[in-house]
């Protein structure tokens, strides 16, 4: 296979200390636009309040590594061969700008930028605003264009639709995208609030066509007004009005009749909301359905947001998460509880990954193989609130773009990972992401 050949050739040259410009290689190899088989997807999973180092990090070499006994990653070890664990990546971009540690993490996470000035208190007398730039998922969405009905889908579990500790996706500077925390609402958004999914080929009925004409007429009307306003107002005002216009364009796509298909696609509305584990499962099912039915290829799920005071009674843990995460290293009981909490999150990641790995898609690879699933956190170590050494777990190979089964050590700003993500998503010409002064290019060797 040509892809395989190209990859190893590139790796070989790198190994010799040579490099060839990316442009010399065929670009968009794994682009969803060009792929003959299944598309590539990006799924980001975010959990809050940092991790417990001694039970998270593997030991060993890149190819020969193990996790500590009773380690947090235990539930994921079944997919060790399809996994990359990345050590030594830091949210350096958030060193700049205002904000408390718990604000800086989510703000930097996918943007590689920092917080604007603002009025949100983060707990350390350093009020801040939203991120100063677009996030990597939305950037990819812009590059890909309208390849799916929804450009991006954002799921949440017990997350507030406000505040810079609760958003990781940004349409642009000061334009946070909040996750939908209600599984039923998210399902409706993905599978048609506005147009019942027609089984392929069947023409919508007359009433549906009339409704569509009316909606388009209304959107045209609103767009006209927005254009007139935007023509008069420069700066921030125009940015917001333009965002509104773009949202109407996306809405117009959403209301158009759609078909739903794909390997493993069997959309089912989630059960009515339940407790935290139940909502978690429902949202993971929604993520899976979104991807398997190809309603979007860029999806994220955020649990809580930073400073979450979630309790975990089903694990026998009644202390709130954020309070626990502040406790010093010497407190063994709390340490063990936090390991339990993070292991439970690993189990949730495993649930999704298991579903994705069970679907074999066109071309013979599983849905997991064709995707890049990233589990990340707002902090590194919880109790000192460091934004260094973020606990990154990557699953899947983005259709063969990433060699897997490795434990990789870096000492880079996470901006370089964001560049690697762009490359994994087929955008091979990208050199920087986020704050360019922090970028050295894609992480060496991560994407072949």
């Amino acid at each position: 296979m040509i892809t395989r050949f190209e990859s190893s050739r590139r790796r070989f040259l790198k190994g010799l200390g040579l490099s060839i410009p990316a442009a010399a290689l065929p670009v968009l190899r794994s682009s969803p636009l060009l792929a003959a088989g299944a598309p590539v997807r990006l799924v980001v999973l975010f959990t809050p309040n940092g991790t417990i180092l001694d039970k998270f990090w593997p030991s060993g070499t890149a190819s020969n590594w193990t996790i500590p006994e009773g380690g947090i990653l235990e539930p994921l070890m079944k997919w060790k061969a399809k996994m990359n664990v990345l050590n030594g990546l830091h949210y350096k971009s958030a060193d700049a700008g205002p904000g408390a540690a718990h604000q800086k993490g989510p703000v930097a996470c996918l943007t590689g930028g920092h917080a604007l000035n603002g009025n949100m208190n983060g707990g350390n007398n350093s009020p801040s605003g939203y991120a100063d730039r677009i996030s990597v998922d939305q950037y990819i969405a812009g590059k890909w264009g309208d390849v799916t009905r929804l450009r991006t889908v954002e799921a949440g579990v017990a997350v507030s639709p406000s505040g810079n500790r609760h958003a990781i996706s940004y349409l642009g500077s000061n334009q946070p995208v909040f996750a939908e925390a209600d599984p039923a609402k998210l399902f409706t958004r993905v599978f048609g609030n506005f147009s019942a999914p027609s089984s392929s080929g069947a023409a919508p009925d007359k009433a549906a066509l009339q409704l569509l004409a009316e909606r388009k007429s209304v959107l045209d009307y609103a767009s006209g007004d927005l254009n007139r306003l935007a023509a008069r107002l420069p700066g921030d005002e125009r940015v917001r009005l333009t965002r509104h216009l773009e949202s109407l364009r996306e809405l117009e796509r959403q209301i158009s009749p759609t078909t739903v298909s794909g390997m493993g696609c069997a959309p089912a509305a989630p059960m009515a909301a339940g407790d935290y584990p139940a909502v978690t499962k429902a949202q993971l099912d929604n993520v899976f359905q979104t991807v398997s039915c190809d309603q979007s290829r860029l999806v994220h799920l955020i649990w809580n947001g930073e400073t979450s005071q979630q309790t975990f009674p089903w694990l026998g843990i009644k202390d709130p998460h954020h309070t626990m995460s502040h406790v010093g290293d010497g407190d063994k009981a709390t340490h063990d509880k936090l390991v339990k909490v993070n292991t439970w999150y690993a189990e949730q990641v495993a649930y999704l990954v298991g579903k994705m790995d069970s679907v074999v898609e066109a071309g013979g690879k599983t849905m997991l193989d064709n995707s890049l699933v990233i589990w990340t956190n707002g902090l590194g170590k919880g109790n000192n609130h460091t934004r260094n050494n973020i606990p990154y777990v990557l699953l899947g190979s983005a259709g063969g773009a990433l060699p897997t089964g490795r434990y990789l050590q870096f000492d880079n700003a996470h901006n370089d990972l964001l560049v690697s993500i762009l490359h994994a998503m087929g955008l091979r010409d990208e050199k920087t992401f986020g704050d360019p002064s922090l970028c050295k290019g894609p992480l060496p060797g991560l994407v072949a």
């Binding site: 000061n174 958004r189 005002e237 917001r240 965002r243 809405l251 309790t311 010093g328």
Partner: protein, 566 residues
């Protein structure tokens, strides 16, 4: 667990940084300090950005955003007032902004994302459907209608929806939408689809201030009378202008500070203004912190969403009573009454109301003094299970004194050491003074917070903790006018009640609430507001009226490069 460390977060400012800001005495947000004028000293002339022909000193036009999307609550109220809520109004599907710890909503963050736009469509369609079910009540003409009636409807309802008269071209554009609907379902359906369009128009969804040429100068843009009316009604009622206010705008009777102040006084007499002022005070005092706190269910089994809601209601009712009474800032801090229901009564050690619901009760003046000792406010600023002097001190310093230390150094990392077992909270906090990196900022907070030691995590009064008598000595430092030791929150409340710094803090916060976080607030308007507030014996209502009377209320700063009105 008694060994839990009490260190407030780990990124703490360095000594020099903290002290540096305090000198300025009105640090960063909470309310940010005014940026428009000269800070302390005299009243500088505002030069090109000044408002022409104002009263007294020359104000600069406030930097208010020209388009500000309605918040969820504003949308809900505006829709209700436009279409009536008799039919059990549409559920407004938007998330609430500014939940959690925002001091005030930042209008720059109010965007229309794809999901917000989808929600707006959903809400508009549902509302339009409900509204046309009673078509005769909706229409200004016979519901058998035809185009002339539809056109009339576009003008009349459009004016109320947009809070201004429509240009003929705008009516034409609406008629095009009407035609699409009428083609599918006749006149009534045309009206319904037109209504959907009105409710998705930016003129409905945003508060738009494009201004007028007449009366503008330099960088000060004069608002149209209808824009002034909307600014006033959204400030005081959180909704669109009522008919008398629209009439005043139509007749050009919102042209002077006195005319606007007279309308403001009328609006303040309405329950909607009471609601809005209570909301403002809740924001200022950080009641929304209740969203963020989690209490140990074993220690505080009674703490649940219902109790939280009661705490919010209590504050609303308390503030409401003060504002129906003398309205004074001093009273907010020193009154000895509150409102309790069956769940709040035990927290105050009083009998639950005989008739159920919420009832006013008198409190022991030795234990309680206004908002500072309200159980909701104390609970909202107590994040851990212990009494947490740090956050309580931080609350007083940030929200009531408007002093905030500057940003911490870029990436200062401190690992909190384990506290030595057996130390009291006071002794553990003293350890902050042994660590220079901690001391500089913690000395702004800890000594104030220790004065709240007589209140547990739910705000209950106590005289002992863990078998030892409570020590509630505290001290204020680095304030403008109330430095010194105090004992207990009651005495602290009395000191705050008499502080010019607290009054200034309230003025700044209220000005930002009215105009947004970037509005500025130059020395001239500051002086006017302070004079009015002092002259009214610190009646909060008069402060609000003074904000509307100020010249800046009829202006906004022009945006560089904007196309001015013809």
């Amino acid at each position: 667990m008694s060994t839990r460390p009490v260190w407030l977060l780990v990124s703490v400012g360095l000594a020099a940084g903290c002290v540096g800001t305090v000198d300025d005495s009105r640090g960063q947000p909470g309310p940010r300090p005014p940026t428009g004028g000269g800070g302390g000293g005299g009243v500088p002339a505002s030069g090109g950005s000044g408002i022409p022909g104002g009263s007294g000193c020359q104000e600069a036009a406030p930097a208010v955003t020209a388009v500000r999307r309605l918040t969820r609550d504003e949308y809900a109220s505006t829709l209700r007032d436009l279409l009536g809520d008799a039919r059990g109004m549409v559920t407004v599907p938007f998330p609430k902004e500014g939940a959690g710890d925002d001091v005030l909503v930042d209008p720059r963050t109010l965007i229309v994302s794809p999901s917000w736009a989808a929600n707006a469509m959903e809400a508009a369609e549902a509302a339009a459907k409900l509204a046309v079910a009673n078509l005769p009540a909706l229409l200004p003409c016979a519901p058998t209608g035809g185009e002339a009636c539809a056109r009339q409807f576009a003008s009349t309802l459009g004016k109320r929806a947009f809070r201004r008269p429509l240009a003929p071209a705008e009516v034409d554009a609406l008629m095009k939408v009407y035609a699409v609907g009428a083609e599918g379902g006749g006149f009534p359906h045309g009206i319904e689809v037109m209504l959907r369009a009105l409710l998705q128009s930016p003129s409905f969804l945003y508060r738009v201030e494009l201004g007028q040429r007449e009366g503008s100068s330099g960088t000060a843009l004069r608002l149209t009378p209808h824009e002034v009316a909307a600014r006033l009604s959204y400030l005081l009622w959180g909704t669109a202008p009522d008919q008398p206010l629209m009439d005043a705008a139509d007749r050009g009777q919102l042209a002077t500070g006195d005319q606007i102040a007279a309308q403001a006084r009328r609006l303040l007499g309405d329950p909607r203004a009471q609601e809005r002022l209570a909301e403002f005070h809740g924001k200022w005092l950080g009641i929304d912190g209740l969203d963020e706190v989690a209490k140990d269910p074993q220690k505080y089994p009674q703490y649940d969403d219902k109790l939280e809601a009661s705490m919010r209601d209590e504050l609303k009712l308390f503030v409401g009573d003060v504002l129906k009474g003398d309205g004074r800032l001093e009273t907010l801090f020193t009154a000895h009454f509150t409102y309790v229901d069956a769940s709040l009564a035990p927290l105050y050690g009083v009998a639950p109301p005989a008739g159920g619901g919420m009832a006013r009760v008198e409190l022991d003046p030795a234990q309680r003094s206004g908002v500072l000792t309200s159980v909701g406010i104390i609970a909202a600023h107590t994040f851990a299970d212990e009494s947490e002097p740090i956050h309580r001190g931080k609350f007083v310093r940030e929200r009531l004194l408007c002093t905030t230390p500057p940003d911490p150094p870029a990436d200062l990392m401190v690992t909190p050491p384990m506290p030595k077992p057996g130390l009291s909270i006071r002794e553990r906090l003293l350890e902050h003074s042994n660590v220079p990196a901690c001391r500089a900022c913690h000395e702004l907070m800890d000594p104030i917070g220790l004065g709240f030691e007589s209140y547990d995590g739910l705000g209950r009064f106590r005289t002992s903790e863990g078998g030892k008598p409570v020590d509630d000595h505290g001290s204020l430092t680095m304030t403008r006018d109330i430095d010194g030791p105090f004992q207990g929150a009651v005495e602290l409340a009395q000191k705050l009640a008499g502080s010019a710094q607290v009054r200034q803090c309230l003025i700044d916060t209220a000005f930002q609430y009215a105009h947004g976080p970037d509005a500025g607030g130059d020395a001239c308007v500051q002086q006017k507001l302070a004079q009015a507030f002092d002259g009214a014996r610190h009646d909060v209502r008069e402060l609000v009226i003074a904000i509307t009377r100020a010249d800046g209320f009829r202006y906004r700063r022009t945006i560089e490069g904007e196309v001015l009105p013809p």
